[in-house]
Point group: C2
Chain length 214, copies 2
């Protein structure tokens, strides 16, 4: 069987610069998500079936590659429709939050995303803090305002840190489902939707009950 792959010198396929760069970036996301950013360029190259120096043709430094990974993971992650959904008072807040979290989870509760996100956070990456601020301003603050209306409150003051923290418990609790799944590799029920809608509903109803104290 002289035609077996293992017998023949690898045919060394060539890709266009654009395609190769794309493939490297894709694999780098998977690789760093798994190993963290101290993962080695040689192992990444080996997974790609290319030589290690080839990486440096497309990304001048490892840090440069990592920053491209960040960009891919952090950018365009806030869907403008989310805000529309949240603010749409023609539907119940319960419905809106359930739809929002279904879509949000679909976009972000993924193996690569969750892990790259947590690794970069632990590294103290600026991009991570910017993302947190974005979430707080563009998603959680609007939710707080809807929650006030839901509870029949008519405050005019800006949303307080305490209010934000309250909604962060829900937001983080749902995110924690993804952490348990992709970081702890613990047992989680397959049906996130059900878990999520129970949590959203319980939190809303419970918050309304105690809203006098908030």
């Amino acid at each position: 069987m002289s035609t077996k792959e293992s017998d023949v010198k690898a045919p060394r396929k060539r890709l266009s610069a654009e395609n190769r760069e794309q493939k490297i970036l894709e694999e780098a996301i998977k690789f760093f998500a798994e190993k963290g950013f101290s993962g080695q360029t040689r192992e990444l190259a080996s997974r790609l079936g290319i030589s290690q120096p080839l990486l440096y043709r497309y990304f001048p430094t490892k840090r440069d590659l990592i920053e491209n990974v960040f960009e891919e993971v952090y950018m365009n992650r806030v869907n403008p429709e989310w805000l529309t959904t949240i603010k749409n008072r023609e539907r119940s807040l319960e419905d809106r939050l359930i739809e929002f979290y279904r879509s949000y989870a679909e976009a972000t509760y993924r193996y690569e995303w969750i892990r790259v996100y947590m690794f970069s956070a632990l590294m103290g990456e600026e991009l991570n803090r910017r993302y947190i601020n974005l979430v707080e301003k563009e998603l959680l603050t609007p939710i707080c305002l809807e929650l006030r209306a839901y509870c029949g409150l008519t405050r005019d003051e800006p949303v307080s840190q305490a209010e934000l923290d309250h909604i962060w418990v829900l937001h983080g609790g749902l995110f924690y489902y993804a952490i348990r799944k992709h970081i702890y590799h613990g047992p989680v029920s397959e049906d996130f939707s059900t878990v999520m809608s129970s949590a959203v509903t319980a939190m809303l109803r419970g918050t309304k009950v105690i809203s006098g104290k908030l």
Copy 2:
């Protein structure tokens, strides 16, 4: 100024083996919590003001040192009083959970703990999974049983994954406060107690309201 520290040879203090080992372990926890476990032994030694090979007198390998850090962080972290508090039906479940989480947060929501915990989880450490199982069996399952009683349910079946996931949203949501503080370094209100008791109360009341559907 010939007496300045920088001019004089370091006086080279000697510690007993026991004390030195203790100091190394303490600093290693801080160091790895900050830098992750790919932090380098030379930098750790430098922080301790000792030479790098001295580490190897007390810990034969870096991995050995890391495992001692794990042990320090993971062991004796489950206080038996917590279970007592949770099960004590002479108090309202609300009170019990608030007391439990106050104590639990005090024990675990610390910079070193949270970060070592997350780093080790990302590394896929066995010890992490064991800890998660312990939490689920010894703390969350009992809470689920109390929650059934609180909601007036009289089931006999074992606690389902869906029930666990529901309480995980609260548990994870509160834990997420510590993640935001120590990993994201984002803004959080100083008063965790207030945030926590609101969340606990809202979740309990809300869950009771929707308990027919669970």
